[in-house]
């Protein structure tokens, strides 16, 4: 009993076994984090290697921060999750997508950005993490009246 517990705990710590519930539930701690670093820590992401196989298609200038279109995809074999972070947002973590057998690691979504910021997309593949970054400038549109 004790041995099993310890083994499970150890597996937990080194990240082999994921708590099942965490997949389906909403990660309150990560989404509540006020810095990108804290958010990623809460998601169990430490070092992420920059990768050219991670693509972020976003406009360099968004006329309106309320709608910033993003198209993200990973060509890294075995990608099981994509994570989107806008560093300068009050709550930087925007989304985490987990892909099962039958889904390609691809998402198109519109997001809100409070101000000009780096957008970071992270991929999880084979227990490793990869990252790509793109700056999106947020401007003012229209007459402002």
């Amino acid at each position: 009993m004790n041995t099993l517990r310890r083994a499970l705990l150890a597996a937990f710590v080194i990240g082999i076994v994921k708590p099942l519930a965490a997949l389906a539930a909403w990660n309150k701690e990560a989404f509540g984090a006020k810095t990108a670093g804290d958010a990623l820590k809460s998601l169990g992401i430490g070092n992420a290697a920059p990768s050219k196989d991670l693509a972020i298609d976003a406009p360099e200038i968004a006329e309106n921060g309320a709608v910033v279109p993003l198209e993200i995809s990973s060509a890294i074999p075995g990608t099981t999750a994509l994570i989107v972070v806008a560093d300068n947002n009050p709550f930087p973590l925007i989304a985490r997508f987990d892909f099962k057998e039958g889904a390609l690691p691809f998402v198109k979504v519109n997001v809100k950005m409070g101000e000009t910021s780096d957008v970071r997309v992270l991929a999880e593949a084979g227990g490793k993490h990869y990252v790509a970054t793109k700056e999106v400038k947020v401007t003012i549109g229209g007459c402002g009246g």
Partner: protein, 103 residues
């Protein structure tokens, strides 16, 4: 009552493109209404895409997804007539779902 959803699932080159629209205010909790009162935080937290009843994408999202969310996903190995179901659940316990066959 949650507003309408709309979905299209079309067979493309090597994958099925699923485009889904959701009616939702995605309130950040920071916005003031016309009376100057803060509109409470109200946003979708979970989105699930199922292919023939089996989950293929599970998303957790924040209030920073734009109002009336529009998502596109890509599935592989699906054929015409396969059943796609997309559902969402928000922070106030509301939910909605929609179904479509791959065309």
């Amino acid at each position: 009552m949650p507003g309408p959803m709309k979905m299209r699932a079309t067979l493309g080159q090597g994958f099925t493109e699923v485009r889904v629209l959701m009616t939702h205010p995605m309130e950040t909790g920071q916005r003031k209404d016309s009376d100057g009162k803060l509109v409470p935080l109200h946003f979708i937290q979970n989105v699930t895409v199922k292919l023939n009843g089996r989950p293929v994408v599970e998303a957790q999202i924040s209030q920073a997804v734009s109002r009336n969310p529009v998502f596109s996903f890509r599935l592989k190995g699906s054929a015409k007539g396969d059943k796609i179901e997309v559902s969402w659940l928000d922070n106030q316990g509301e939910s909605n779902s929609t179904e479509a066959a791959v065309a």
